[in-house]
Assembly symmetry: C2
Homo-oligomer: 283 residues x 2
C-alpha cells in the first residue's frame, strides 16, 4: 500500500487514515473532502499527507469512501470508472443495499468491497478522528463474492491487522437488521433529546438534574445530522418498520400504566433485562 | 455519627454506606434489607458491620432510606415514630411528592430530610455498591425548611464531604421535571431493548451487529424492575405526560420520513444537536 486516498476525512475516514498510517508507514495518504476546512484540519492533524482529487484515484492502491451514504451511492460508479486495475475501493457506510446496487453491473465491480465497520462516536469531523477506533469492532462485509479474490484477501488482511471481527451478510439483510441495531437507537435518542429540550428550554436550571443515565440515553442525539439524514433516506422502509414497532411498544407500556397494571409494567422490564446477557462484552 | 442504619443495602444504600464508613471510620453501620441474602453479601463486602432491625432505629444518629419509593412512603412514618430526638432520617428516592406527603403532619417531620441524589448505575444489589458514586453529583433536597435547622446543617455537611452539589426544589416541581430528565429515559431505553429483542430473538448472530451506540442507548434497560416499577407508580401522571410528548415527537419524525421531507428530518436533528451544550460536563 503505497498510495491511499481517503474520501471524507471526518470521524470515520480520519480514524481509519490514522490506523492505516501506522500499518503502512511508507504510504502516502491523500484526502478528498467537500469541506476545504476539513482538508486543512486533517493535514494539520497529520490525518492525511496532502489533498487529492477524484482525477488521480487511478494512482491509488486503496480508496476509502467515508462520506454520507447517498454521496457514496452517487460517486461510487465514477470512482470505479477512474481507478486502476489493482485498486481496492472500500466504503464504510451504514447502509449497504443502495450502495451495492449502484455498481451491480459496473465492469469494475470486482475492485469494490462493501463494508460496514460498526464503530463510531457521537462526534464528527477530522478533530473527532482517533486511533484504534476499529479495534475489536465488527466489520460487516456484503456481497464478498463479487470482489476479486486477490483484492478480498488484501482487504481482509487490513481488517485483521486493525483488530476487526469479520461477518458476511447480504445487503438486504444487513439493512433490515441494522435498522434495529443502530438506526432506531439514533431516532429514539434524537427524539428523547427533542422532548426534553422542548419542555425545559426556558428552565435552564433543570439541566442540573441530568444524570449519567440521561446522558447515556441521549448521547446519540449529538450525532452528525448530515450523516444521519442520508442514512434515514437510504434505509427509509426498514426504519419506518422499526419505528412502528417501537411506538407500539411505548403505547403498550403507556396503556399498562394508565390501567394501573404495575405487575405488567414490572414484567415488561424484567423480560427486557435480558439485554444484559446480549450486550455482554460490548460496553 | 456513631450509629448509622442503612435501610436497603443495594446500589444506592450500599454505595452511600461505603462513603460514610470512610467519612466516619468510628461509626457502627447496621443494615436492614428485605433480602437476607443481600444482608449477608453486604456484611461480607464490608458495606455494613451488622444486621439491624427497625426496632433499634432509636439508637441511630443517622437513618438512610434506600428502598423502592413506595416502600419508603409506607415505612417512613413508622421510622419517624421510632427514632430518637436527634436522629436524622434521609431518603434517597427518585420521587419526592408522595414521600414528603406521607409525613406532612408527623410530629417528628423535623427529623426528616427529603433527598434525591442523582447518581446510580444500571446495576443493583450490594455487589453493585461502589465508592465515590456521589462525588460531583447533584443532590436535590425538597422542603428543606421543614427539617430542623441543626439536623439540616449536619446533613449538608455530610453531602459537602461526599462532594455533592446541592439544589433545593419543592417536591411537585421535582417530580414533574425528573420525569423528563430521568424517568422517560428509562422507558425509552426499556422499550428500545424490547423492540430489538422481540424482533431478533431467533437470530442470535444479529447481536454481533450491536455497537457502542446501541449499548449506550439501551444501557438503562438493565435497571432493576422493582425500583423502577415503584417509581413509575408514584410518578404516574407526570410520566404519562412525558410519554405522550415523546410518542408525538416520534410520530412527527415518522411523518417527515414518510413524506420524504428529509430537509425536515435534518432540521429536527440539527436543532436537537443543541443537547451537546446542555450536557457539557455530565458525561
Amino acid at each position: 500500500m503505497k498510495h491511499i486516498t481517503i474520501i471524507g476525512v471526518g470521524l470515520i475516514g480520519g480514524s481509519l487514515a490514522l490506523d492505516l498510517r501506522t500499518l503502512f508507514p511508507e504510504a502516502h495518504v491523500k484526502g478528498i473532502d467537500a469541506s476545504q476546512e476539513h482538508i486543512e484540519q486533517a493535514m494539520q492533524l497529520q490525518v492525511i499527507d496532502a489533498q487529492g482529487t477524484l482525477k488521480d484515484v487511478h494512482l491509488a492502491d486503496l480508496v476509502i469512501l467515508a462520506v454520507p451514504v447517498d454521496v457514496t451511492a452517487r460517486i461510487l460508479p465514477e470512482i470505479l470508472d477512474a481507478i486502476g486495475d489493482h485498486t481496492i475501493v472500500m466504503d464504510m457506510g451504514s447502509t449497504k443495499e443502495a450502495i451495492c446496487n449502484s455498481v451491480t453491473n459496473h465492469p469494475n465491480r470486482r475492485n469494490f468491497i462493501a463494508c460496514h465497520p460498526i464503530a463510531g462516536t457521537e462526534f464528527s469531523g477530522p478533530n473527532a478522528a482517533i486511533k484504534n477506533l476499529y479495534r475489536d469492532k465488527t466489520n460487516i462485509i456484503c456481497e464478498v463474492e463479487k470482489t476479486a479474490f486477490k483484492l478480498q484477501e488484501q482487504a481482509l488482511d487490513i481488517f485483521r491487522n486493525l483488530g476487526m471481527r469479520i461477518r458476511y451478510m447480504d445487503p438486504v439483510s444487513h439493512d433490515k437488521h441494522i435498522a434495529y441495531m443502530s438506526h432506531l437507537s439514533h431516532i429514539s435518542s434524537f427524539m428523547l433529546g427533542k422532548t426534553v429540550i422542548d419542555k425545559e428550554k426556558n428552565e435552564k436550571d433543570i439541566f442540573d438534574m441530568a444524570g449519567s443515565g440521561f446522558a447515556s440515553t441521549v448521547r446519540l442525539a449529538k450525532s452528525n445530522p448530515i450523516t444521519w439524514t442520508s442514512i434515514f433516506k437510504q434505509n427509509k422502509e426498514n426504519i419506518l418498520e422499526t419505528l412502528d414497532e417501537y411506538i407500539a411498544n411505548l403505547e403498550g407500556f403507556k396503556s399498562l400504566m394508565e390501567a394501573d397494571d404495575f405487575k405488567g409494567v414490572f414484567k415488561e422490564m424484567e423480560n427486557t433485562n435480558h439485554i444484559k446477557q446480549i450486550l455482554k462484552g460490548i460496553d
